[in-house]
């Protein structure tokens, strides 16, 4: 560290007889870590800063009559600190005795037992027995704090890490202390359930067993867990994650505290808790072939042969243009590479990773790819389209950090970038650019990758920017975790190949004979649900690799049961272009195969040579590091945005980490988190259509498109005259609207008179 700090800013401090030089202002607790002297802490946390509450970090400092707290004492030059002196140890013993006075000794049934700081420090510094002979005070136990968290008030030592996390990191301020003195307890500020995209982090911050996850309570003991470190495959942020397995099942996932570069040590609740699907009864465990309208179980050899023959026959009959493959955004880099490698070897160019609304994971040859940590240092953050708060929560924590440090947050269009921090909403990109304060040095744009015109506007603006005075970073959080990797390894059509829409249109018109869909569910996510369904119905051979019988798999000819991201090993690429390791944490169910293994078998049958593993790895890293040489973006269609009239409502399609049909729909324990179909509206627009909160409505658009069964919810953040619908909710998929921009209310039911159509 001294290499980067000028010598004048260093001070010399002596800790337990060891001299060390540290930058001025370093806290004693942090300085001590440099010599591997861990001063015990409860309330202090490097990411939350000092709070001075628990008083366990007492140290003796020469020249100071009283013990000092190491967490809020910056080192001074020539300071002599004793962390293990008799006096310091006596102070810690005293604090531990006090902390344990009313703490229940239920360690044998406590989830934290074995990894509890109170247990550990009581062993190291405590006195063994309490001198209090009165009854311990009793407080509420097993308090249901919300959909994910249970709180044991008796175990709580009031370090307030959870409250401070919810204040300083998420800025949501849902948690607080109620009552005072010995009666103080943790509660939600509103009395309503603790809901946030980040609740799981408080269970890790909790130094004792007070806050526990519903998904992990009483399921395992830390010493029985077998830990694997991997990359979370739920979104494109690429958070590093520990997977703790017990008897070959996933017991829980934990953040990687040292992962400063990507996750900053946090996980979102989708990434953390969506693990139950791995052992769900709905997992596909055998290849299924449709014969005479019935699914029959077949063996893997037959399945791959069917696939190989279908592709070979189609090419022989109608040429390579009659074959296509879609997938890659949910696959590993290696798998996505193999997919395009095998198909290109056959001359197929109908290749695309895109199965949803995104047009590009990376818009073009702009060398301005931002890294996660840089986002927190921005002076201005502009979100263009669906904001990262809805698609990439942990990246959004960097946005919140930037805004808390004084950055200006601007969101463009209908979406609001933040409901918790100050945010300017403007109509167009040109308006956003005007709002950039003069003197801003670091501008970050987070684009949702959906509208082509946005990318052109960003590119034009960035091209005119004076890069000598202003740095500019672009972030494109994808709909799929490995969108960037799939695109980098070549899962985009070249040389006249068709993109996904092109393939679907060709298929609908009877021009496609064989289509492979690997890890995609276009029936739920492709913006035109009717087209996707028509295309799959019209294609003679559709092979789908999936974990579950999804909307798309139901329309397949052949279904291949795939491994989940916890069951295979390889790499994925995050939105910043980092190639990150994915490691198998648990064995895959019998009769499932990783998509990569399916492709290897397919290549074998088709006689296609594959690159050696080492060469493949080098190729992937090279492709991810290079500025993607993607085909240029098409020109924007220039069609003006339709404006809702007095009779219609404008449709805003939003995203959520708690929508989706696959892993989330098949996780029993997350039922409370799954979104129900809702139509969020400004109360004024609801009033104009004589709607009340809780009413059930059906929407109708042009060309007879319909979306039925939405519940009206009021939200003043939704612009007037609009209705906001979250994409990917299986019970009411927004893609059924086929991109309709204006809808009418086709039917409504009062909440009170359920079942009766008005």
């Amino acid at each position: 560290m001294s290499a980067t700090v000028p010598a004048t800013d260093l001070v010399t401090v002596t800790i337990d007889g060891i001299d060390l030089q540290v930058p001025k202002g370093t806290l004693v607790v942090e300085a001590a870590k440099l010599i591997h002297r861990d001063i015990p802490v409860y309330c202090y946390h490097p990411k939350l800063g000092p709070a001075g509450l628990c008083r366990i970090c007492l140290v003796e400092i020469d020249g100071m009559p009283k013990l000092q707290i190491g967490c809020n004492t910056p080192v001074a030059d020539k300071m002599v600190v004793r962390t293990l002196s008799d006096k310091a140890n006596e102070g810690r013993r005293a604090v531990l005795e006090l902390l344990l006075l009313n703490h229940p000794l239920d360690c044998p049934i406590c989830d934290k037992g074995g990894e509890c700081d109170l247990q550990d420090f009581a062993m190291a510094y405590g006195q063994g027995a309490s001198r209090m002979i009165d009854a311990k005070s009793s407080k509420p136990k097993a308090v249901d704090l919300g959909p994910t968290i249970v709180l044991d008030e008796e175990r709580c030592i009031l370090c307030l890490r959870c409250v401070r996390f919810d204040d300083l990191i998420t800025h949501e301020r849902s948690l607080r202390t109620d009552d005072r003195g010995a009666h103080a307890i943790i509660a939600t500020a509103t009395g309503h359930p603790y809901r946030s995209d980040f609740t799981g982090n408080v269970t890790e911050l909790c130094p004792v067993g007070a806050l526990t996850s519903k998904t992990y309570r009483f399921r395992s003991r830390p010493w029985d867990n077998h830990r694997t470190t991997t990359t979370c495959m739920q979104c494109s942020v690429g958070c590093q994650m520990h997977v703790d397995g017990r008897v070959q099942q996933i017991a829980r996932t934990m953040s990687v505290e040292e992962d400063d570069a990507i996750s900053d040590g946090w996980l979102c609740d989708r990434g953390r808790y969506n693990i139950g699907y791995v052992t769900d009864d709905g997992r596909l465990t055998s290849p299924l072939y449709r014969q005479n309208g019935e699914w029959i179980q077949i063996g893997w050899d037959d399945a791959i042969e069917l696939w190989a023959n279908a592709v070979r026959d189609a090419i022989a009959a109608d040429g390579a243009a009659s074959v296509g493959a879609i997938g890659g955004g949910r696959l590993l880099n290696e798998e996505a590479f193999l997919l395009q490698h095998v198909y290109r070897a056959l001359g197929v160019e109908n290749l695309d990773w895109r199965a949803g609304r995104m047009v590009r994971a990376w818009p073009g040859p702009l060398p301005i790819r931002g890294h996660h940590a840089e986002l927190a240092a921005a002076d201005v953050v502009i979100t263009y389209g669906v904001p990262p708060a809805q698609t990439a929560p942990v990246l959004d924590l960097r946005v919140r950090k930037a805004v808390a440090n004084g950055a200006t947050l601007i969101s463009i269009g209908d979406h609001l970038a933040s409901a918790v921090l100050p945010c300017v909403r403007v109509a167009t990109f040109a308006d956003a650019v005007k709002r950039i304060p003069s003197g801003a040095k670091h501008v970050a744009i987070v684009w949702d990758g959906i509208e082509v015109a946005d990318a052109h506007a960003i590119a034009a603006w960035a091209g005119a920017l004076d890069h000598a005075t202003t740095t500019f970073r672009l972030y494109v959080p994808g709909e799929q975790p490995n969108a960037f990797g799939a695109e980098a390894v070549g899962m985009l059509p070249r040389d006249g190949g068709l993109d996904t829409r092109g393939m679907f249109e060709a298929a609908r018109d009877g021009k496609l004979r064989a289509l492979a869909l690997l890890g995609v569910n276009p029936v739920l996510h492709f913006p035109d649900r009717e087209l996707a369904i028509a295309a799959l119905r019209a294609t003679p051979f559709v092979v789908v690799s999936e974990l579950f019988m999804t909307e798309t798999a139901e329309l397949a000819t052949l279904i291949l049961p795939a491994c989940s991201a916890f069951e295979k090993t390889g790499t994925t690429t995050d939105l910043a272009g980092d190639v990150l390791p994915v490691s198998a944490a648990v064995p895959s169910p019998e009769s499932t195969l990783a998509d990569g293994d399916m492709l290897v078998a397919l290549a074998d049958l088709l006689g296609i040579a594959l690159p050696a593993p080492a060469a493949l790895d080098a190729t992937i890293r090279e492709l991810a590091a290079a500025t993607p040489q993607n085909p240029p973006l098409p020109a924007p269609d220039g069609a003006p945005r339709a404006i809702a009239s007095g009779e219609t409502l404008r449709v805003i399609v939003e995203a959520s980490i708690f929508s989706g049909g696959g892993t989330l729909a098949h996780d029993d324990r997350l039922g409370e988190l799954r979104l129900t179909p809702r139509a969020r509206m400004h109360p004024a627009s609801a009033a104009a259509f004589e709607l009340e909160e809780g009413d059930a409505i059906d929407l109708a658009g042009p060309e007879r498109v319909r979306l039925d069964g939405l519940t009206v919810a009021f939200d003043t953040h939704v612009p007037e005259g609009a209705v906001a619908i979250v994409a990917g909710v299986p019970a009411a998929p927004a893609n059924a609207l086929r991109g309709a921009v204006a809808v009418t209310i086709a039917a409504k039911r009062r909440a009170a008179e359920a079942g009766v159509l008005a």
Partner: protein, 427 residues
């Protein structure tokens, strides 16, 4: 016997309606403020106040001028907050000043605000002081109508906004950073220091928090000069002080005296002495948070340094006198229960230690004490002191510690009379 009682702040109380701005002005009120803003200028006012060696009358006794000098010249707005959250057990001087001489307090606040270059002053009034709040509100309205609060005070170019804020009933909000949190609308709990309020106080800006009585002396210091105040009493602890005397005396009440007279004088010459036929056992010299002093201390000089040297503190200047009818077990319990009840619960020693000792004393009084309680309490007193985030936690122990040493027999008597209970070994 010549009474040491003087009338500086207390002049006119009980005789004149000093709540009326005209009456207050007829006694020379607001003259010093006008002089300050029109003649003296900011530096001269600050120098005069600093030169008086006035020490804070709220409890800590910190030199007022030095506190002001910590404000950084960073061009940021700065605030002054008058702490009128008087809740220290035994203290009732600010209560009287608030209800009797609100204009004197306003004048003091405005002089201090002017001296430090602040344009928005606050007074934080204890929630229970309903009458005091109404009186202060009326006084502030009168002052505003008279052009004393607001834009261009006394026709000068000095502007000052003045806000009255009521507490919601928590002792901890008398702690200056707890007060600032409460004033900002947050939970009233002390902040971690450093940073101190002078650097980062109200709304994150440099802030001075001064006690009511401290500020009320400022007009008088300007009137008579710093030397007048500094020459009274001990050099390092000079001036006058309103002392609230309560407990086993004939005439409990507020007495304004020069610092440096003896404790015995305060009890005998001010408060009329003990009740007839009673003997003196002890006295708390500075409110509920101060350790008890005993017979051998009666002739000590009543000033900040001497009382501190004797192992107690002058605190807010609230003397509670105990005669030989005192049950120190119950007296300790009453105080400990107060501190345990008022603990904000943030930091471990105060939260856990206070309730531990409260439980122990309750059990002793209930006749279920055990012999080891004495040593455990002594040890617990020791281990909760000096480790806390704020001064409240350090206020739990002094009284109990001092009377436990001196009157251990009273505690033992409770325990010996106790119904024997098996001494359970807790783990």
């Amino acid at each position: 016997m010549a009474s040491p009682v003087v009338e500086i702040l207390t002049k006119g109380i009980g005789e004149l309606n000093l709540r009326d701005i005209d009456v207050y002005r007829s006694t020379g009120g607001y003259v010093q403020l006008e002089r300050a803003v029109k003649e003296l200028g900011q530096k001269a006012v600050a120098d005069e106040c600093t030169g008086s060696n006035l020490r804070g009358r709220g409890g800590a006794g910190f030199p007022t001028g030095r506190k002001w000098s910590f404000l950084p010249n960073n061009g940021r707005p700065r605030y002054i907050v008058c702490n009128c959250d008087e809740a220290e057990p035994g203290t009732f001087k600010d209560h009287m000043l608030l209800e009797q001489t609100p204009h004197q307090i306003i004048e003091g606040i405005l002089i201090a605000a002017y001296a430090i270059g602040c344009h928005h002053a606050f007074i934080y009034i204890r929630g229970e002081f309903q009458d005091g709040f109404e009186i202060m509100r009326d006084a502030a309205r009168q002052a505003r109508e008279a052009g004393i609060i607001g834009k261009g005070i006394f026709g000068s170019d000095y502007d000052l906004e003045f806000t009255i804020h009521r507490g919601a009933g928590a002792y901890i909000c008398g702690e200056e950073t707890g007060l600032l949190n409460s004033l900002e609308g947050k939970r009233g709990e002390p902040r971690l220091k450093p940073p101190f309020p002078a650097i980062k106080g109200l709304y994150g800006e440099p802030t001075v928090v001064n006690n009511v009585e401290t500020l009320a002396y400022l007009p008088h210091i300007l009137k008579h000069g710093a030397a007048w105040f500094a020459s009274v009493g001990p050099e390092r602890s000079p001036g006058y002080k309103v002392v609230s005397i309560s407990g086993h005396v004939k005439k409990p009440g507020n007495y304004e005296v020069p610092l440096g007279i003896t404790i015995r004088q305060l009890i005998d010459e001010c408060a009329g002495g003990l009740r007839d036929g009673r003997t003196f056992l002890g006295v708390q010299p500075g409110g509920g948070s101060s350790a008890c002093l005993f017979e051998e201390h009666l002739d000590l000089s009543y000033d900040f340094d001497t009382i501190a040297k004797a192992g107690s503190m002058l605190g807010s200047g609230a003397m509670v006198v105990f005669d030989d009818t005192t049950d120190f077990v119950k007296a300790s319990f009453a105080l400990i229960r107060f501190y345990a009840h008022e603990s904000c619960g943030q930091c471990t020693p105060c939260r856990e230690g206070g309730s531990w000792i409260e439980k122990t004393l309750a059990r002793i009084i209930d006749g279920r004490g055990v012999p080891s309680d004495i040593d455990v309490m002594k040890s617990a007193c020791h281990q909760i002191t000096g480790l806390n985030l704020c001064a409240l936690g350090d206020s739990i122990e002094p009284f109990l510690g001092s009377v436990l040493d001196r009157f251990e027999g009273q505690f033992r008597a409770y325990i010996e009379r106790a119904t024997p209970v098996p001494e359970r070994v807790a783990v």
